[in-house]
């Protein structure tokens, strides 16, 4: 059973002139980390809302085509069951706080309370999640008084504590420093290793290259490419969608342009370093021979 199957899906928000998604056909498998990239307004967030069932349950509009989530038609899902099955982190960290809890600890526990998790499990989960996120120092603070970056970490921790089978995550690191961003990606990778299915929207392409199994590239509401990360990053779809490539991939293309092609397209620094190191050793040996 697939995570999601979309067949020729078009969605237009109520009062909008243009569809936000147009003719999207997509098959997402379980146990994978899907990265979704595209410029603002390309339909990434709408795709997230659809996978999470916020369309059509919360957002009004016209939905055409068929959407199946975990083998069941989206319309047949019970909204409450869907909210338990698919966890969702939204892009705006300022509106994801419950507003009724006066400590971060209780804020993170809120979702667990709603799921009826026992108190001892709750304490364990909140503790381990906050240790993973490095926010134990915040646990006694009021969530309504945190900075943007801190709120983003708390919002993320609150959702992953709920331990749902599927996670839809929209720009979880927009307010974070590089180190915290990396930590968030490590946690996402760890979730995937534990068998979760993840759909992740993110602009930080270097991190995507390193962590995502597959990439979905969107432009003007359409999916213009979907496939293994390395393959998609090397494809012209990236330019067409105006999405940057990892720096090392750009470096490889630049080398090729000046006639020093590496013979492969690296997407992570490790791969690039290995390819260039081999080249340098070759030149060294060659130079030695000449000498």
């Amino acid at each position: 059973m697939d995570l999601a199957t979309l067949r020729d899906v078009t969605f237009t928000y109520a009062y909008a002139e243009m569809p936000a998604l147009e003719g999207v056909t997509l098959q997402l498998q379980r146990g994978q980390l899907y990265g979704v990239v595209g410029i603002n307004g390309s339909g990434k967030s709408t795709l997230c809302s659809l996978l999470r069932g916020l369309i059509p349950h919360f957002h009004q509009g016209t939905l055409e085509g068929t959407v199946e989530i975990l083998g069941k038609d989206l319309g047949e899902w019970d909204a409450a069951e869907l909210s338990r099955t698919i966890g969702c982190v939204f892009d705006n960290p300022f509106t994801q706080i419950s507003g009724i809890k006066d400590t971060v600890f209780e804020e993170i526990a809120f979702g667990l309370e709603n799921l009826g998790v026992s108190r001892s499990d709750m304490l364990d989960r909140v503790t381990s999640v906050s240790e993973q996120m490095g926010i134990t120092a915040l646990l006694r603070k009021n969530p309504n008084e945190l900075s943007g970056g801190q709120r983003q970490k708390v919002a993320f921790a609150s959702i992953i504590a709920m331990d749902s089978e599927v996670l839809v995550i929209d720009e979880p690191t927009s307010q974070l420093d590089p180190q915290s961003s990396h930590a968030v990606f490590e946690i996402i990778a760890d979730l995937k290793a534990r068998g979760k299915s993840i759909v992740l929207v993110e602009h930080k392409i270097d991190l995507m290259a390193q962590f995502a199994d597959r990439l979905v590239v969107m432009r003007s509401g359409e999916v213009v490419a979907e496939g293994p990360t390395a393959q998609v990053l090397a494809s012209p779809a990236m330019d067409a969608a105006d999405v940057p490539r990892p720096e090392v991939t750009d470096l490889a293309f630049a080398l090729e342009a000046v006639g020093k092609g590496l013979g492969c397209v690296p997407v992570t620094r490790r791969e690039a370093e290995a390819a260039i190191a081999t080249r340098m050793r070759g030149t060294q040996i060659h130079a030695d021979r000449v000498a």
Partner: protein, 270 residues
């Protein structure tokens, strides 16, 4: 487990997670509903006893309870503000405008009467006794423990959420007003200075601040859904109420019974 260390858990902040909240004071450690019963009984007794003696003793009793609970200072400050801001105003309005036979003095169109003063005093005292009970209750019992107590008695979580969120909204409005003031300063708009300067900066932001708050309700609803608020599963609670010991329950019942009996006796005699 550093964040849940025993030292931290015993902090009297009410923000403890591992174990039961204790404020180290038996009144403040009482079950929220027992506190409600006791304060309600005292208020009823104060209202039923011949005035104004009963009402004054009620107010004094509240102050006494606050002192015994170790919150005398904060309660007295809050209560003093209410007495001046609400009680005094109510008294003056009644005293000045109620007609009667014994005019005390005349000042232009105003002719306060002895009857007016008496009625004003009683009315202000009634309001102050009720205000006192409510104020004391929320000084003694944090909103969230009160709501938890109600929820455990079967109140739906949606109702407690709305109540808690409304209280939070008041704090949020204050905060967002301050934030917008900062934003205005950053745009060269004076918010520091005399009353006129402040008013000129403040009035235009009132509507937007409210509209922003309203706009957030939809996003709030989605955020709540993401946290499985409507999961259909009975909710559990990270916060725990201290189980009321037998003596506390007995004392509460006794107080209530004593107050009601006094009222009943009073009614029978008259």
């Amino acid at each position: 487990m550093s964040a849940l260390s025993p030292e931290a858990a015993s902090a009297p902040s009410g923000g403890t997670f591992d174990g039961v909240v204790s404020h180290g004071n038996w009144i403040r450690d009482m079950h929220p509903l027992n506190v409600a019963v006791v304060l309600a009984s005292i208020s009823l007794l104060a209202l039923a006893t011949p005035r104004p003696v009963g009402l004054v003793s009620g107010c004094v009793a509240f102050l006494g309870i606050a002192v015994a609970a170790g919150v005398g200072g904060s309660f007295a400050r809050l209560y003093a503000k209410l007495v001046v801001g609400v009680g005094l105003v109510l008294f003056v309005l009644r005293a000045a405008f109620v007609h009667g036979n014994h005019v005390l003095f005349e000042l232009g169109p105003l002719a306060p009467t002895w009857e007016g003063v008496r009625e004003g005093t009683t009315f202000a005292l009634v309001v102050m006794a009720l205000c006192g009970a409510l104020t004391l209750y929320f000084v003694l019992v944090p909103m969230k423990t009160f709501m938890l107590a109600l929820e455990l008695k079967g109140m739906p979580p949606q109702a407690t959420y709305i109540l808690l969120a409304s209280f939070q909204a008041i704090t949020d409005l204050g905060r967002s007003a301050r934030t917008v003031m900062d934003a205005q300063k950053s745009r060269g708009i004076e918010t520091e200075g005399n009353l006129w300067v402040r008013a000129r900066a403040f009035v235009p932001i009132l509507a937007p601040v409210f509209i922003t708050a309203l706009n957030q309700t939809e996003e709030r609803a989605i955020a709540l859904d993401a946290r499985a608020f409507n999961s259909g599963i009975p909710h559990t609670h990270v916060l725990q109420l201290r189980p009321a010991p037998a003596w506390e329950r007995a004392a509460t019942a006794l107080t209530a019974a004593a107050c009601l009996a006094t009222i009943g006796a009073g009614l029978l005699w008259t």
